[in-house]
Symmetry: C2
Subunit: 251 residues, 2 copies
C-alpha cells in the first residue's frame, strides 16, 4: 500500500461541489444515521466506535453536533479524552479507553482517543520511540479485538485542517463571546509544533491496520458532508435487521 502523505491531501472542498446541495444531502444523511442508530440499538448485535482526531479547532465538537445530532440519546455516548487522571496514569494507556468501548447495541463517539498517546506524548518527547512502536502494536491489537470479538464497526476520522484556517478558528475563540469558553492559551503553544504534529499524524494514519478517513475540514459544511456519507455507507454495510416480533399471542 502506498504511503499516505497528509501534505498532499486538500483540506478544502472541491470547487465544483455545490454548497447548498451538499447541505441538503448532509441533512438527509444525518437523519439516516439516526435511523440506522435506532436499528443498531434494537438489533443489539453490533457496536459502533467513532474516533475523532485532529488539531485544535479542527471542528470535532461541531462534527458531533451536526453528524449525530439527530440520533436519540439512548445507546449513544460521547466521551471526551483529556489529560489522564492519577489513577489513569497508574495503568497502561489503553486501560481508560477500553472501559469506554461500546457495548453491543451502542454507538460511542471518542472526541480524541488513545491516539493522543502516540501524538501529544510523542511530539513533546515524553515517551521514547521504542514505546511508540509498542503502542502502535497495542493499538492495532486492541482495535482488532473490538472489531472481531465484539462486532465493533470502528470509524476513525482525521479532521484535516490547514494551518491558516486553524488561525482563523482560534482567533474566533478570543473574539466571539459564545466561543470564549473554548479558548486556551495552550492551543497557541501547541500550534508552534504544527509540523511535528503533522508528521506524527502521518504515521498514525500509515501505521493503523484499521484505516482512517481523512476529511478536509476548512469548510465545516464539507466536513459534515463527507462524514455523514462515510457513516451511512458503513452502517448500511452492517446489513442490520429489525428484530422479528416475539409473541405467543395471536393478534
Amino acid at each position: 500500500m502506498p504511503l499516505i502523505d497528509l501534505n498532499k491531501i486538500p483540506t478544502q472542498a472541491p470547487k465544483d461541489l455545490d454548497k447548498d446541495e451538499a447541505r441538503k444531502l448532509t441533512k438527509q444523511r444525518a437523519e439516516r444515521i439516526a435511523d440506522l442508530h435506532q436499528k443498531l440499538v434494537a438489533e443489539g448485535k453490533h457496536s459502533v466506535l467513532i474516533v475523532l482526531q485532529g488539531m485544535d479547532a479542527s471542528g470535532k465538537d461541531g462534527a458531533m453536533r451536526n453528524v449525530f445530532g439527530e440520533c436519540a440519546p439512548f445507546g449513544l455516548r460521547a466521551v471526551g479524552w483529556k489529560k489522564p487522571t492519577d489513577l489513569e496514569f497508574a495503568h497502561d494507556f489503553l486501560w481508560r479507553i477500553h472501559k469506554e468501548a461500546p457495548a453491543k447495541g451502542e454507538m460511542v463517539i471518542f472526541n480524541r482517543s488513545h491516539y493522543e498517546d502516540v501524538l501529544v506524548q510523542r511530539v513533546h518527547g515524553w515517551i521514547d520511540e521504542e514505546r511508540v512502536d509498542r503502542r502502535f502494536e497495542s493499538i492495532n491489537a486492541f482495535e482488532k479485538l473490538l472489531a472481531y470479538d465484539n462486532n465493533t464497526l470502528i470509524l476513525k476520522f482525521y479532521l484535516h485542517l490547514s494551518k491558516d484556517e486553524q488561525e482563523q478558528q482560534l482567533l474566533e475563540r478570543v473574539n466571539e463571546s459564545d466561543k470564549f469558553y473554548k479558548h486556551n492559551d495552550g492551543d497557541w503553544e501547541e500550534r508552534e509544533h504544527w509540523d511535528k504534529y503533522r508528521a506524527a499524524y502521518n504515521e498514525v494514519i500509515n501505521r493503523s491496520e484499521i484505516p482512517w478517513h481523512i476529511v478536509g475540514v476548512d469548510q465545516r459544511w464539507y466536513r459534515d458532508y463527507q462524514m455523514t456519507e462515510i457513516i451511512v455507507n458503513a452502517m448500511e454495510g452492517l446489513n442490520m435487521e429489525w428484530p422479528a416480533l416475539e409473541t405467543e399471542r395471536t393478534w
Copy 2:
C-alpha cells in the same frame, strides 16, 4: 522451543522433598512476599498480576490463602471470575478483565481469568476455532500491553492436578460440612470433559508468549512450596527500592 506436554509432567512432589522442611521454607517465603508487596506499594513503580488457573478443586482458593495470606490488604486485590454478566457479554472478552488490571503499586490475584474464554468456551464448542485463534492473539497482545506499558509483572500458574486427586477433593466437598459451600453438581459434569480440558490447557500453555508456571498440586503443601519460591524470585528480580526520604526539614 519444544512443546510442553502436561501429561508428562508430574502432579506430585518428588519423593526426596521433605514435607516439614518444605513447609518451613514456605512460611518464610510467604513472609518475604508480604515484605516485597509492601515495597511494591511504597515504591509505586511496578504492578503485579497473578493468574491462577486449573481444573475444579485444584486448590486455587487455598493457594490464595497460603501464599498471599501474610500480605497487608492495602494494594492487594483478589478477583474471582465467574460466568459473565449480560453487560460483560455485550463487550469483547477482555473488557471486564482489563478493568481489573493492577495499578502501579498494586498486586492483583485473578482466580480464573481471561483464559477461561479459550478453555471452557472451547471445550463446550461455544466458539469456533477461528475465534480461538484470534483470542490467543488478543491475549498475547493484552499481556504485553500490561507488561510493557504498565511495568506489570505477570505470573501465571497452572495448578496441575491428577484426575484421581480431583475425585478425592470433590468427594470432600460432599462429606465435610465446612466444604459443602464449595460443592457444585456441575463440577462432576465438567470432570467428564477431563481430556478435552487437558488438551485445551496444553494449548494455552504452549501458545502463551508470557510463560506459565506449571505447579503440581496433588499435595497442597507442595503447591505452596513451589508458588512461594517462584513469586519471591520474580519479585526480587524487580530490584525495587524503598523510596528516599522527602523532607525539607533537618532532623
